[in-house]
């Protein structure tokens, strides 16, 4: 490759937040990379790594309250930071185009897709409205959108999430930009949709030889599409190399941990089965108000020491199942037995003891803990409420639980606002344990956390299970988690259970077709995974 191919050069970029008192924290510090025509660079990192800030800076744009404080961003030989506002505006769209995480929020609800897709070429005076329309139809066809001729007449709320995400790629491509910035474009999608959208994006980039910056937190996703990968943490570059090198031979310790966590499996938990199952669900149905049936004839069994995973995509009814077990949503028919004893459908009819034995941990630790209470109140309340202990005993017990969670004892008088996401989740676990339950329902407990933090939470849960013999009902959309920690699994699709049993059996041939689709859609951390999946699906 020769240097004339270089379309973008980011040189020692530094972005800083500003607040009332002047300069705030540094969001991006000393980041440099170059991008050649047709090349894709993946920016990877956890939340707060500065990925999006870098992506937006490449369009000469910063969000309110931030400013580019240093460095150069050279686009085709021109430092865009020295451009006038009009010059930067001319660059956005025809030069560098942006594809956001949430298409549903990024499309204007009051305009048709045609109007929005054609906007860049028409407003920048590059094409007539009719020519732009032809280009849009062509792009819709390339992206496998249905009825490309008329697709653009629809409004954003009239098409599905996956289609809208592809329509956004069409919008970005409309004026044939030199660079596309993808910002977590598949994160909000279900895994099965993610595969299709990812394949469409890759085809688009390849065919138009467009350079791209692909931002994501998911190494396996970026491995499918990027030539180079840059790992970022706290706004600084950790490592930069080819995709192969990052995946196969990571140099930095942090990258090694990111790569390792995914591959390393946990052994399945072997448990001695007792006579009476802890929780036994038989043919349960439930629905909200008069709407469709949300869960329909679900049966499930959990024994002491089990980790049973309930997997499914959004709308599969997996969270509703948790609400039915806890009694928040009374079931319409079927049985829920706890240690052989029938649980009344409604929460209000259950005894305090029945409530104590099943506890919950939530997805969002921010809203699961009352921000106005101290950890002593939060964790201590179940101790006092269920066991009627004295104040001194409660304090002693809370300290013990904090130690168990590897949290400092000094946290006892703090409020959740002073804690990090992972620490809050530990407090949520401590609160559940304070009730000394037999079963804990974990509702997507790692999906709101960064990868490494989530791994630590899983490790903690596993350790607690070994020490205390608690059973978990794990509700999740993440098959990676399921494979590693669950000994039993139930696969849900549109309110029905399509497969269930020992994890090893359900996830081995012969598969239920939906289980196979789900399994094959989970990105794997090797660069040829997407090709294989597509080839296999084309052959079917």
């Amino acid at each position: 490759m020769n240097t004339n191919d270089i379309v973008l050069e980011v040189d020692r970029l530094r972005v800083q937040a500003r607040n009332d008192r002047g300069a705030g924290p540094v969001l991006v510090d000393d980041v440099s990379f170059t991008l050649r025509q047709g090349e894709v660079i993946g920016l990877i990192g956890e939340s707060g790594a500065g990925k999006t800030t870098i992506g937006l800076a490449c369009l000469g744009y910063t969000r309110n309250g931030c400013a580019i404080e240093g460095g150069r961003i050279v686009f085709r030989g021109q430092d865009i930071l020295t451009l006038s506002p009009a010059g930067r505006r001319a660059l956005r769209g025809p030069g560098v185009a942006y594809i956001a995480q949430s298409a549903a929020a990024s499309f204007n609800p009051a305009m048709t897709l045609f109007e929005q897709v054609c906007e860049i070429p028409v407003r920048h005076g590059l094409m007539t409205a009719d020519a732009a329309r032809e280009v849009a139809i062509g792009l819709f066809r390339e992206l496998d959108l249905p009825d490309p001729e008329t697709f653009g007449r629809r409004y954003p709320h009239q098409v599905s999430g996956g289609q809208l995400q592809r329509a956004m790629a069409a919008m970005a491509m409309a004026a044939k930009p030199d660079i596309l910035v993808f910002d977590e474009p598949t994160t909000a999608l279900d895994v099965t949709t993610q595969v299709e959208v990812l394949a469409a994006f890759r085809k688009l980039i390849k065919e138009h030889r467009t350079a791209a910056i692909y931002i994501t937190h998911d190494l396996a996703v970026v491995a499918q599409i990027a030539d180079d990968i840059m790992v970022l943490r706290h706004g600084k570059m950790v490592e930069h190399g080819t995709a192969e090198q990052i995946l196969q031979a990571p140099r930095a310790e942090y990258t090694r941990r990111l790569v390792a966590e995914r591959v390393q499996g946990h052994a399945f938990v072997e448990r001695v089965a007792e006579e009476v199952p802890l929780l036994s669900i038989r043919g349960v149905t439930a629905s909200y108000a008069t709407l469709l049936r949300v869960i329909d004839g679900v049966s499930l069994e959990v024994r002491r020491g089990d980790t049973v995973a309930v997997v499914g995509e959004s709308g599969s009814g997996k969270s509703t199942l948790a609400r039915v077990i806890t009694g928040l949503l009374p079931r319409e028919s079927g049985e829920v037995l706890f240690k052989g004893e029938m649980l009344p459908p409604a929460l209000a009819r259950r005894s305090r003891e029945q409530k104590r034995r099943v506890q919950m941990i939530y997805q969002m630790p921010d809203v699961a803990l009352n921000p106005h209470q101290t950890l002593l109140d939060i964790i201590g309340r179940p101790v006092g409420f269920y066991f009627g202990r004295s104040r001194a005993e409660i304090r002693e017990r809370v300290l013990e639980l904090l130690r168990m969670m590897d949290l400092p004892e000094s946290f006892i008088d703090r409020t959740p606002g002073e804690l990090s996401g992972g620490q809050k989740q530990r407090v949520g676990i401590a609160r559940a344990l304070a009730a000394e339950p037999d079963l804990i329902i974990c509702d997507e407990v790692t999906s709101a956390l960064d990868q490494l933090v989530g791994e630590e939470i899983l490790r903690l849960l596993k350790r607690l299970q070994e020490e205390l013999g608690i059973a978990y009902l794990f509700i999740t959309h993440d098959l990676g988690v399921v494979k590693r920690i669950a000994n039993k699994v139930a696969v849900m699709l549109r309110g029905k259970m399509v497969a269930g049993g020992e994890t090893a059996e359900v996830f081995a041939p012969p598969f239920h077709p939906y289980t196979e689709l789900l399994l094959s859609s989970v990105p794997e951390m090797r660069s040829d995974w997407l090709d294989e999946v597509l080839a296999r699906r084309a052959g079917l």
Partner: protein, 275 residues
């Protein structure tokens, strides 16, 4: 200057100062007023002088003294109305949000209906038959105003009840009282305090408007609204007497609004920091 860890802006500081001065005047009227409110001490429309700082009114009463006693009446009454309206509104609003079902539906429809009419008009209808008695005035206005408090507290409680930490408390088996006082109220306190200021200024302007129209507080008690009414004809003669009570009404309302604006601003900023 900081208050509970928040920087006090200058309009907010001014607002606090205005409120403090008014409260002082209202509470201390009998002690600081030079004359009684109904005492005739000079000739009608005497010019301001050393003994009558603001001059005299149409019946030869000391204007400053009437202004101070008027503060007592106008502010006291509005506080009473707002407190009563808040008690009714919060209790019904929280109950509707937590009980849901038909309780919520019935209360909400009733409030919708009350809000479908301008409250001044509804107050007129009631006052036309019940007459302008202070107790009637307070109860009527409190009931009308409580519909707005109901709306807000119901909406607040609905949002808070949907949060998972409240769900945790319900799953644990906590009772309604615990959930309201320990889980819902602490989170609703800040917006409710700001709303109290806002509702107070509405009630205050409302009472003053009614008095100005001759349907509020009746003579000989001094209150700012009826003072404006009593002195209004003097404008054509170039006497500025009506501007003292009218200005007092405006200044206190501005003060309260400055403080409310500040409270709302720190609340929205508080959310930003947590996110």
């Amino acid at each position: 200057m900081r208050l509970y860890g928040h920087r006090v802006t200058w309009p907010a500081a001014l607002g606090f100062l205005i409120i403090a001065i008014n409260l002082f005047a209202a509470l201390g009227a009998p002690l600081i007023a030079p004359f009684d409110q109904a005492e005739v001490v000079c000739d009608a429309w005497d010019e301001p002088s050393a003994s009558h700082l603001l001059g005299c009114d149409n019946l030869g009463r000391d204007l400053l003294s009437r202004l101070l006693f008027g503060a007592r009446m106008s502010i006291g009454l509005s506080l009473l109305i707002t407190t009563l309206s808040f008690s009714i509104g919060i209790v019904t609003g929280f109950t509707a949000a937590i009980a849901k079902g038909w309780v919520d539906a019935a209360l909400s429809r009733a409030v919708d209906l009350m809000l479908a009419m301008p409250s001044l008009i509804f107050a007129f209808v009631v006052l036309s038959v019940l007459g302008t008695d202070v107790a009637v005035l307070v109860v009527t206005l409190a009931c009308l105003d409580s519909t707005r408090v109901f709306r807000l507290s119901r909406a607040l409680a609905m949002n808070i009840v949907a949060l998972e930490y409240v769900e945790v408390a319900r799953l644990r088996g906590e009772g309604l009282w615990w959930i309201i006082t320990r889980e819902v109220l602490p989170a609703a306190r800040a917006p409710l305090i700001a709303e109290f200021g806002l509702r107070f200024s509405f009630a205050f302007l409302f009472v003053a408007a009614l008095s100005f129209l001759g349907l509020g507080i009746q003579p000989p008690d001094a209150d700012w609204g009826s003072m404006v009414r009593d002195y209004r004809d003097m404008i054509n003669l170039g006497i500025s007497a009506p501007f003292w009570p009218a200005g007092a009404i405006a200044v206190l309302t501005i003060g309260v609004n400055f403080v409310v604006d500040w409270l709302l601003a720190i609340q929205s900023r508080g959310h930003g920091e947590n996110a």
